[in-house]
């Protein structure tokens, strides 16, 4: 079961943008274009794990909708053009999990969504990649019930790629996410680890090299 995300954004272009990227990465998405339609959608469809809310909406605005989300126990990330500190503080104080300022990069959106799901414990337990199962809480990878042994960094890198399926990472982004921003390693390190993953897990056809960018786990 994929995580279900409610996207409330009135600009169709941006709504489609968010939905497109979340779907490709493996989420299930329900877009809503009007603040007044949110409650109706929530009554019809259950089990949202997260809501992305624009603040300036026709009908009920993002701040009003936050209360509705809380009633349903849905964590909220605001997506808004309001970049001033006061709006951010107001958003976060009122109980939103995170705050994304337009314009944003796709990766930023995905990582923030992922972190909020992780933090609120709504994240899926098992990620399926080909015949592999990644057990996030146990930090292990199994194939047909058999554990495959991976070094910690190899495991982290696999999780990063598997969580953001179909999204290409640059080597710098990968270093940043897995080794941390303080790590002063060479980007060669990434190539070595990717090589290990492909060999150990037989993922050569799934972890693709994207010229001039980096790597992508495709499914």
């Amino acid at each position: 079961m994929a995580n279900r995300i409610l996207v409330v954004e009135d600009d169709t272009a941006i709504s489609e943008l968010i939905c497109m990227n979340l779907e490709v990465t493996g989420y299930e998405v329900v877009p809503v274009l009007d603040g007044n339609e949110v409650e109706g959608t929530l009554e019809k469809e259950e089990n949202f794990d997260l809501a992305l809310l624009d603040i300036m909406l026709p009908g009920k605005d993002g701040f009003e909708l936050l209360g509705v989300m809380k009633e349903h126990g849905i964590p909220v990330i605001y997506i808004t053009a309001k970049a001033d500190v006061n709006s951010k503080i107001k958003g976060l104080r009122s109980g939103a999990e995170d705050y994304i300022v337009k314009p944003f990069e796709v990766l930023e959106l995905l990582v923030r969504v992922e972190k909020v799901l992780e933090r609120t414990g709504k994240q899926k337990e098992i990620i399926q990649v080909k015949d592999l199962e990644i057990h996030l809480s146990e930090h292990k990878v199994t194939r047909n019930g058999q554990t495959v042994s991976l070094k910690p960094m190899e495991y982290d890198l696999l999780v990063l790629l598997a969580k953001n399926k179909n999204v290409a990472f640059t080597r710098e982004q990968m270093l940043n996410e897995v080794w941390g921003s303080n790590y002063l390693g060479e980007t060669r390190t990434i190539d070595v680890h990717i090589g290990q993953l492909r060999r150990k897990l037989d993922l050569s056809d799934v972890i693709k090299t994207i010229p001039k960018i980096g790597y992508r786990l495709e499914e």
Binding site: T12, I14, P58, P103, E105, V167, A168, E218
Partner: protein, 464 residues
């Protein structure tokens, strides 16, 4: 030095000088008069005495007397007229003397006259007046007598000194009082000036609502009135400036905000195309969105440029044009667009000629008709009617809620954001129209009812 100090000092100096001159002249004239009076009285006395003495001497045989006898006789004669004033000279030698003075003998020639002559001299700190004349005698006497009257007139000079002293005391008192009075009066008169200075200082510090109290209707009062008018003007203009800059700020803020939405789409979709594996259909969608948003930006920048140009209003060319020509041109421009949407445009116009910038008026009407089209649906009709100084654009579309009408001419304001965005609106049309109308000295009236339709009238001023 302060103005009040200058004026006080100047007044005091003038007062002092004129008082001194006046006092000096008065004292001098008074003493001269006294002396003249005294000397003329003495002259009369000398003349009378000399005549009488002449009579006596004519009859007396003084030549035959011995020196001693003659001297005694003359002394006796003199004493008969005055006990103490006279000296009698015979051939310029002292012959008899009833005064307490000695004859010193210099400059006696001045008395060689049958008319009394007055002379003055100072001796041992005393002022003496000497009046003398020859005693008239017949020619038979071959000797001459002179009569001199000697009088101490120190008293007169002492009076002068006393007068000067008195005068100085009075002068001092008057000047002291006058200086104080002038000082006080001038400070009082200049008080409004001090107020003015204080107020001007306060205004320059930013307290624009400060005003001067007008106390009098003299020059300073007039200055205060003018000053207050100036302050009013400044306050008014500052307020206007503040409003203008506030509007600019809002416009810039809205512009920045307006740019964010297309930017988010463009950055997001291009990022997706670069990094995310999506199918061909999705790729096409992403590209379409990027394309649309870029066009939106292009329209936005075009309209912004128009608006800025209008704010500069240097490029405006006012000429007389028939309204019929304008409306015909606009109908021609919109023909294709209208057909596409299945909307009919009906125009009617009289033969009025108006002073206008053709290009701007065209853009105004195109904007208004575009708005009407966005509000209308297929099969609807839009009316454009020109009669006299009024041009009417009317639609029977959705209409505008009453509370929104005052806001719709603000830049980037859209009543139904998502709908007008879908229709390609960017929220600058009516802001543009407002500016164009303003440049023509006209006004725009908006009447609307939701569900019934909208009427927008552009009314030119009657002077045209």
């Amino acid at each position: 030095m302060k103005l009040w100090q200058k004026i006080s000092l100047l007044t005091a100096a003038i007062l002092l000088i004129s008082m001194v001159v006046y006092g000096g002249i008065t004292v001098y004239e008074t003493s001269n008069y006294n002396i003249r009076q005294t000397s003329s009285a003495a002259s009369r006395q000398v003349r009378a005495t000399a005549y009488a003495l002449g009579q006596s001497l004519e009859n007396a045989a003084t030549e035959e007397m011995s020196d001693t006898a003659r001297k005694a006789y003359l002394q006796f004669l003199l004493r008969r007229y005055s006990s103490r004033d006279y000296m009698l000279l015979q051939d310029w030698q002292l012959a008899a003397n009833t005064t307490n003075f000695e004859l010193t003998g210099n400059r006696l020639e001045q008395f060689d006259s049958y008319e009394p002559v007055a002379a003055f001299q100072q001796k041992n700190g005393r002022h003496l007046m000497i009046v003398g004349q020859k005693i008239p005698l017949s020619d038979s006497k071959n000797t001459s007598y002179q009569l001199l009257l000697v009088r101490d007139i120190s008293e007169i000079y002492n009076n002068v000194l006393t007068q000067i002293g008195m005068f100085l005391i009075i002068l001092g008192a008057i000047v002291a009082v006058a200086i104080n009075a002038v000082f006080w009066m001038i400070r009082r008169m200049l008080k409004p000036l001090r107020d003015l200075r204080e107020t001007a200082g306060a205004i320059s510090q930013g307290q624009l609502d400060r005003r001067v109290r007008v106390r009098s209707n003299d020059e300073v009062g007039a200055l205060s009135v003018s000053f207050n008018q100036m302050a009013d003007q400044i306050e008014c203009q500052m307020e206007e400036l503040a409003q203008v800059s506030e509007r600019r700020k809002q416009l810039l803020g809205s512009l920045a905000h307006e740019l964010k939405t297309p930017m988010t789409s463009i950055i997001g979709y291009s990022d997706t195309l670069l990094h995310v594996r999506i199918n061909e259909e999705q790729q096409k969608k992403a590209l379409t969105h990027i394309n649309n948003e870029c066009r939106r930006l292009e329209r936005l920048s075009g309209k912004m440029m128009n608006l800025l140009e209008l704010y500069n209003n240097e490029t405006i060319h006012m000429e007389k044009h028939p309204v019929r020509q304008l409306i015909g041109k606009v109908a021609e421009l919109e023909k294709y667009h209208l057909k596409e949407q299945g909307i009919t445009l009906e125009t009617r116009s009289d033969d009025t000629v108006l002073l206008m910038d053709m290009d701007l008026m065209e853009s105004l009407l195109v904007n208004l008709i575009d708005n009407a089209m966005k509000a209308s649906k297929e099969g609807d009709t839009i009316y454009v009617e020109a009669a006299g100084t009024c041009i009417l654009v009317e639609d029977h579309g959705r209409g505008i809620p009453a509370e929104e009408i005052p806001k719709i001419t603000e830049a980037f304001y859209m009543v139904d954001k998502s709908r007008s965005k879908k229709a390609g609106g960017i929220g600058l049309g009516l802001a543009l129209c407002t500016q164009i109308v303003k440049l023509h000295g006209a006004k725009m009236e908006i009447k609307s009812k939701p569900g019934v339709g909208t009427q927008i009238r552009v009314i030119f001023s009657e002077e045209q």
